[in-house]
Subunit: 183 residues, 2 copies
């Protein structure tokens, strides 16, 4: 067994031009009132790898251009579609009317385990909230359901960029299973 070299890797990855016109997974990530620029940058990098449709930054979530975001995004700010909106609520209503299911990644009394997403949960909007306080109650009210990652330990939550990474990848794999591999 041997590691692939950089030269072998670049032959199997998309160029920026190929990526821009490639078919996206129909999943939108919303980052509402996230505090840390490093988390935002790191999530740009995850969304490039997962090839999700778009990132929407809202509230006081920091947005590009910002050095700390670029530091952890490693170029993904240029590849992933994104926009900033001040208040996410009217956007959520529009997305809902366009057929999206709105999921809060949060612990609520109406949750689906992250590894139990079904065909009817797509196309999917994933909302991540503040690192400490989570998603605001008036946003929770606009959500169709919440997605929970089971916690088997003492702590109540994961780092926000890790929780998002786990849910995004699982959503993408399910999306591919339902809409791409079964075509």
């Amino acid at each position: 067994m041997k590691k692939l070299t950089y030269n072998e890797l670049i032959t199997i990855r998309k160029t920026i031009e190929e990526f821009k016109i490639s078919e996206k997974h129909d999943i939108i990530l919303i980052l509402d009132n996230i505090r840390s620029s490093y988390n935002v940058g790191s999530l740009f990098r995850t969304c490039d790898s997962a090839n999700v449709k778009k990132i929407i930054l809202s509230g006081y979530t920091p947005h590009p251009p910002k050095d700390e975001i670029h530091k952890t995004a490693l170029g993904a700010v240029e590849t992933v579609d994104w926009e900033y909106v001040e208040d996410i609520k009217s956007v959520l209503v529009k997305l809902k009317n366009a057929g999206y299911k709105i999921a809060a990644v949060e612990i609520t009394d109406n949750y689906v385990s992250y590894d139990n997403l079904k065909l009817e949960h797509f196309p999917l909007v994933l909302i991540m909230g503040n690192e400490i306080s989570g998603i605001e109650d008036d946003i929770i009210e606009l959500c169709d359901f919440s997605i929970e990652i089971p916690m088997y330990g003492v702590k109540h939550s994961l780092n926000v960029s890790i929780a998002a990474g786990i849910v995004i990848y699982e959503s993408v794999q399910k999306y591919r299973q339902y809409f791409i591999n079964n075509k």
Copy 2:
């Protein structure tokens, strides 16, 4: 739908005492030559949530006590079993002899997709290597296989703590499917 409150959450989580004697998922995480203390701390927090058996830190990976680790571990240094060893190679041989399958989370020519782990891949050791250069070649030689997260974008890798989070949670869910839920 409403968020669970802190008082509701603490009734459904384990206490430190309950956690210490709870049955662990038989998965060991090795962090070899990781540079960032923040990544190490964040992975302690993930390993608490995932209830994995142990973290082994090796090479120049920073280890507790260290302020930056405690900052992102949020207490998980006290709940997750861990040890530091200078050279991981003899430990890998011992784990192999004890029946563990050794997996490099790395892009190689002999990989299993992270969501395709089978019964025969357990009990499992997951190795994460340096943020830039990945796992050293002499460690790769001791591995049974590698685990790959599919990259659908332009970039070649994820942040190390996000990649680890995705692979750890998928491993835990498969472990539970094979060894706990089917008991």
